[in-house]
Subunit: 333 residues, 2 copies
């Protein structure tokens, strides 16, 4: 790999290496989001699918399948499946979070209505199951249907854990495994399964996706409290204002003295926030070193992801996945 290659982002290098496959995935997505009678479906879907998302998840499936020597054609179906599941969850998330913006554009629930977002999400979810059944591979069906259940369970868990100061690091891990890592690990695992890779490689692919997803979400949660939050299209303190229990806060609550607990109870549990509270929260996190501790955990998960790759064949795509794990945490290093 030349120095020039190294200078581009690992995500872009993956995009380039998998360009032909990604074209096929995009074609399949366009094809399957059509609806003869309900034009609202492709309208809403296109708004989200064509909004310039990074297509990270389908790329993981394609890379996993290719680096295990798969020669097609079902990695394309699985990659499209994964993107449809992702898109369906985004549509429903925006309804649940009452979001007005995603990727810098107004959300579907704002442009159309909550009803359309709920029902089109359901349609894409059903379409994803149709797509995966076309592979005729029972094991990938089992992996992806399990992942869908874990995703939904994680979302419900996040909902009920919100504003609850008793939320533990264990619960936090379950939530982010559900809302983020489950689809990453399913995406990589099914790539290996469809390629007929040996069990050790399938397991390694799962571990890579799981650890990558966890690192990814921890970085996201960390950036929400650091100056770089605008790089992910959010404002500093969004999670604070939404009273979400993310890792930096959970760690600060665990170390809080009586007075600090009163503060957290007021701003998170009661939601009684005023000017200066975000600054006070940041000061408490700094005092207890919880932003650094969160960063260290994210780095450890990224390292775990890279370690998992050692069980996989030596391949340019493996190097790109390795770089990707590094890149995910580079924003906070």
């Amino acid at each position: 790999m030349s120095l020039d290659d190294k200078a581009t982002k690992p995500h872009d290098r993956l995009s380039e290496a998998l360009a032909a496959d990604m074209d096929a995935v995009n074609g399949l997505i366009r094809d399957r989001m059509a609806s003869e009678h309900a034009p609202r479906i492709p309208e809403v879907t296109a708004h989200l699918v064509e909004a310039g998302g990074k297509r990270l998840r389908p790329m993981l499936t394609l890379a996993a399948a290719r680096l295990c020597g798969y020669d097609g054609p079902y990695h394309v179906h699985l990659a499209a499946t994964v993107e449809f599941i992702h898109t369906a969850t985004l549509l429903h998330d925006d309804v649940v979070d009452e979001s007005a913006q995603r990727r810098g554009r107004p959300t579907a629930n704002l442009l159309w209505d909550n009803k359309s977002s709920v029902l089109v999400g359901d349609y894409l979810f059903a379409r994803s199951f149709q797509l995966m059944t076309e592979t005729n591979n029972m094991r990938v069906l089992s992996i992806l249907s399990n992942a869908s259940a874990v995703i939904a369970e994680g979302e419900v868990l996040q909902l009920t854990a919100a504003q609850d100061l008793r939320t533990s690091e264990e619960i936090y891990l379950k939530v982010i495994r559900g809302k983020t890592a489950a689809l990453f690990s399913a995406a990589t695992e099914v790539g290996g399964v469809i390629a007929g890779a040996p069990e050790a490689q399938v397991r390694a692919l799962f571990d890579y996706g799981d650890a990558l997803g966890i690192a990814f979400q921890m970085v996201d949660d960390l950036l929400d409290y650091s100056g770089a939050a605008d790089s992910i299209g959010k404002n500093v303190g969004d999670d604070f204002r939404e009273r979400k229990l993310t890792l930096p806060v959970i760690k600060a609550v665990a170390k809080a003295d009586a007075e600090e607990r009163d503060f957290w109870r007021r701003v998170i549990e009661k939601g009684d926030q005023k000017d200066g509270d975000l600054e006070q929260a940041l000061a408490l996190m700094a005092k207890h070193g919880t932003l650094n501790a969160t960063r260290d955990e994210a780095l450890a998960w990224a390292a775990k992801a890279r370690t998992a790759l050692s069980a996989l064949p030596n391949h340019p795509l493996r190097e790109m996945l390795d770089d990707l794990a590094d890149y995910v945490v580079a924003r906070v290093r």
Copy 2:
């Protein structure tokens, strides 16, 4: 069959004949709606599943499998799958329709919130796919994932067709096939498929479920405009107030003169309704005979359902399915 048997409702006779199977289905449903970490999931699910619904759809699957000679165990999984899909769509429907009551009890979106209804619906949908993959039967997976897509498409179509006077009888049929008949026909078809029934019988089971579902929904839409609406837990004119284009209205609009079109435009398209408008709508339907015409179509679909059964083995369950098709339209005969 004795006269005493005849005196009970066909639904109750099916319940009795399939009691052991239904116990197994109920056990599986209770088992699979559990969630170790997110108690909100079984709470919301139980509220709906245990609300005394008739369990008509899972019973159709069990009856279809048994009358084709199936000896288990996967008809139970499929019946539970069908009930989970049904429950998931009810949860999402109540969010979309902003309903406050279902089966005479407050809806989940009212008791908890829309977020819980959306996410628990997603969880049940994912659970349904897990359940069906356990059958290891690709064909039932294909049938049920196709049905899920048709259901969601029908719901979106209903959403976009609402308040649109151009809605044709063809569109209406697509909507009710999606929102109601698709799950009925999938429920009966997979029963035959899992039993390994001959193609002609599988086809007959599909036709029966399809026609039964269409008759069922047409009767529902008809009762909404007749005095017996309270027998289905609705008030007369609910659809009118919600400006839904159901068959009695579509037929009346098609026959409307200029003045009548102005009326329909005002009350349905503009939603500008006042005292006496429902009575006026009923008078127009009576003038053009559209309630009778709708009833005749429902009766024809019920007859079609009964005709389809002739391709199936002679069996007490077949008689009950025959009676069921008759019973569905008995309320309007």
